[in-house]
Symmetry: D2
Subunit: 327 residues, 4 copies
Amino acid sequence: MNTFGDLFRLTTFGESHGTAIGGVIDGCPSRLTIDMELLQTDLRRRRGEDMSFVSSRAQSEKDEVEFLSGVLDGVSEGTPIAFLIRNSDARSSDYETLRSVLRPGHADEAYLLKYGIRDHRGGGRSSARETIARVVGGSIAKQLLRAHGMSLEARVVEVGGKPYPSSEATDLLAGCAREGDSVGGVVELLIQGMAAGVGEPLFDKLQAVLASALMSIPAAKGFEYGSGFAAAKMRGSESNKIDDGISGGISTGADIRCRVAFKPTPSIHKPQTMRVIDADGRVTEQQITLQGRHDVCVALRAPVVVEAMAAMAIVNLINKHNNDSQK
Amino acid sequence: MNTFGDLFRLTTFGESHGTAIGGVIDGCPSRLTIDMELLQTDLRRRRGEDMSFVSSRAQSEKDEVEFLSGVLDGVSEGTPIAFLIRNSDARSSDYETLRSVLRPGHADEAYLLKYGIRDHRGGGRSSARETIARVVGGSIAKQLLRAHGMSLEARVVEVGGKPYPSSEATDLLAGCAREGDSVGGVVELLIQGMAAGVGEPLFDKLQAVLASALMSIPAAKGFEYGSGFAAAKMRGSESNKIDDGISGGISTGADIRCRVAFKPTPSIHKPQTMRVIDADGRVTEQQITLQGRHDVCVALRAPVVVEAMAAMAIVNLINKHNNDSQK
Amino acid sequence: MNTFGDLFRLTTFGESHGTAIGGVIDGCPSRLTIDMELLQTDLRRRRGEDMSFVSSRAQSEKDEVEFLSGVLDGVSEGTPIAFLIRNSDARSSDYETLRSVLRPGHADEAYLLKYGIRDHRGGGRSSARETIARVVGGSIAKQLLRAHGMSLEARVVEVGGKPYPSSEATDLLAGCAREGDSVGGVVELLIQGMAAGVGEPLFDKLQAVLASALMSIPAAKGFEYGSGFAAAKMRGSESNKIDDGISGGISTGADIRCRVAFKPTPSIHKPQTMRVIDADGRVTEQQITLQGRHDVCVALRAPVVVEAMAAMAIVNLINKHNNDSQK
Amino acid sequence: MNTFGDLFRLTTFGESHGTAIGGVIDGCPSRLTIDMELLQTDLRRRRGEDMSFVSSRAQSEKDEVEFLSGVLDGVSEGTPIAFLIRNSDARSSDYETLRSVLRPGHADEAYLLKYGIRDHRGGGRSSARETIARVVGGSIAKQLLRAHGMSLEARVVEVGGKPYPSSEATDLLAGCAREGDSVGGVVELLIQGMAAGVGEPLFDKLQAVLASALMSIPAAKGFEYGSGFAAAKMRGSESNKIDDGISGGISTGADIRCRVAFKPTPSIHKPQTMRVIDADGRVTEQQITLQGRHDVCVALRAPVVVEAMAAMAIVNLINKHNNDSQK
């Protein structure tokens, strides 16, 4: 339930404003020299360091990763790699007023429906902060793929309907920041050097596993690969000429392109009508303006998370592929 | 690998032109009176009976389902439900000329890369015929959901970029049929009466599980739910007002809409450049015109498969949800 | 639930007196030439052909295995291998009198508690007939292991406390047959040529996976490997000198010996006190003598099932082991 | 691989002499008030506090459990429960001399075979210290079972072939302690108040899942339940009168008894012949006497671990059982 993958597994834990965020990577082969520099770069990309329009909390968190097990002198031992990031800058007081408020666009009410209990401080598990653990797991997965000659690179290609980067997009972002509003975006992932024969023919098709991995990222609303939704408008004589990198759920060896649509972050500073539960469980609607520090466009920091999830998905399928055929 | 789901599982088997297609449903609770009429209706929808622009092979197959176990006097026993559909109308001779041909847009070459061996007769596992087993499993899953007050209904909303049904779309289909070409389409799924609290907060978010289920259908190229790709163009102040039925990966109880983009079926009757492998393994490119009986628009028969996959995905998550909270 | 294994999976189905027994093997690599002779030999061993003290039903069943998919010209395709054995000689009439009787030592009442419904004809899923599917899956797993130089051989070493084979054991069996009684036994498995490094250090230790596989065989009551229960009486200075073939859950490369204790088959022909449920659900106790054809000692036919389960367990762990270390 | 269970999961991490030992519990329902006193009692039992013949390291470790997530004000939130125990008293220097020594009866060489790399400090993952995480997970599982009226109680019943407790057993233990030797033992588990209908009929039989859980405990060599190995000597007419609590893999509601045989701890202080690898990879055999602090009889501290593993196994099967039948 909080584990991604089977042969290469990431199990994550931690609430946004609890003690710590962390995870356990299981199935990393032994004798991988972990590239700590790449890991730090990936974490910096997730924080959006030096990036405009990013929450100041994100940028001020240090995200110091402590490895608790599985790594000896920088080399993987084959045993589970546990890691921990303490929550150093969690201003829970910012959230005190939210104790009874169900924020629109957030998972507050859904958690209540599911568990009959809710951590009001910053969204609990549903916070974007949870993606740190994904980035750590993904960074190691990318290193495993790199050893096989594969690379994954994701970037924002659209913000609020405008191509990105462009001065139109920057203007749009600045406008949203001024108004206390937010905006959506699209991230594109390019997989190069993909090994052929990866992916299972029926249910664990490469595109299905990628879709699941990427649609599990907070705020993702849509997924497509190759010609994607445009293929629905094509003729077969046209579409047959395209090698999208996946055929029958199996990689062909050609490059693969995926696109993920992200909705605007629901945390905005404009007054909104919200449902409020009082001590007796009575629900009323009230006009409320949220405080706190938030992103203008959550897609801006998403590329490294997209890479991470895709990389872990592919490592899993490659590990399965190793047993496909008698030598 | 050929199993979908964990608490409600469908394991499928069978090649397009082998002896039989079938599956095993595991995790169906006991004491469900199986609605055989709904099952037959669903199979008829998949075959596209009385539908225009559908392969005559599909329509002539009888799809007589034989239940081998798990059902006693029409009631589920709690034990695995195995079923079988014999391949009665498989004209393998149609495919004899394909022994050395790797058809464009098909999985022929991918299978070869993966397994070092290939069943040339009609695509083996990658044939659309494999979806029969999905429809049987899905029909039973829909019956389980119906008992909880949920319904799933999918329909084609777009063909080749034209709204469907419409006379434009019909013209387009007729044109493709005449030219031996094919065309893509979009299917929309509406889930009503959805129970709240279903879906796992992190990796098995309801949208991720639906995405995986639906992107595993042959020819699917894209998935979106709710505002989908349009959300990437929205402002937060606008998007926060929408209840898409899923929040933080968990169902809210509101209706859910998903859309799946299908590419045109790659089987067309126009001359195409194809890779051909001769007896010595040498590959040449040749201009070839395929024979056989094929669909003009694979999306037309996809709605019942979309319902099936979504239903099985939801039953799995509901079974998990039963253990979410101490009573 | 009815699936064994993850990377090499056997899913089984079928009730003892239903239409058919069968299974689906998923994860068998492509390009294995299936040794049908070994498979037939294994099925004959399970039937106890030409063996004394074995149920005449077992011996008269033909167990003709029909392969439905996954095998082309005797070679595995990498796709799921489905197989079917029709129940040709099921005298359900023998069981008609059992409709209301809960047989002692059988799972009749347990099924009722679990599912609220019960197939009274010959024990449903809990019949020893279910082991046919295990033998088919295991035979293919043994062939995969053979290709790696491993062999598994199981034999009965004890019957009713007497060494087997011996004239004492034969006398005991003959006595039980005369009296309509049954008797227990012990099966020993020897694994030779075992690859080193197989098994997971924590929960999926080689001995834990073998224990689970072998304790899942009907009538198994105990499992031990190497020095087993005798080790509980030893000193460390003595026990340290033994290489049992497993260390810390991982194979060392030395031979492995396991022993499984089987209870007597509960089907006997002596009068017994049984619980009987009438049409109104009232339970009474009655003195009843069962009819039907049954084994005197179920352990006699168990060795090939023990081999099968162990072989599938080991193939799974070997497939995992392939990803243990960076090359 | 380092995860136990599926619906109630424990993922563990940590090397014996690394930074920390810990785990993540996933699938614990929300709204369970965690009984921290029971947890501390269980950890004290594992440490063998105030127990004779127990390693002084074990007793001096404080095992202070830090909960990192999933618990708010002592109540479970439904989110993953991560916990950590720092290794405060790890004298790695004791192990420096072991850098090149493969200790007999330990997993040293097996790890090397598996991973091509080895943590020489105290056995890495294969140390008994790893069981702390099992005890934490098991303590929470026992609390869930208690809420259903079930209890699990394990105790040592035999040491070195002598009944325990008894003055013979105490003499034997004292003798071993004096000589620097160790001795094996047997632990018996009693499950009371067991719910009926729990366990899966085929491969995940209750006894198979218990066997796997208990055989995964370090030093376990054998498992039996109910009449166990004695059943192999019985007649059916005798064995049919026994209700062992499990029938056809499914619980009947009667009490269940299991027994686990533990070998002597391999860490002894007598001179032993060992394999030694020098810097160039050359292996010689040498007479060596190990130092360090170790248990005389590892079975003495095992009962709480046996309870833990059995409890987690049963919670998993109960969660599955919730979906067995239509209401």
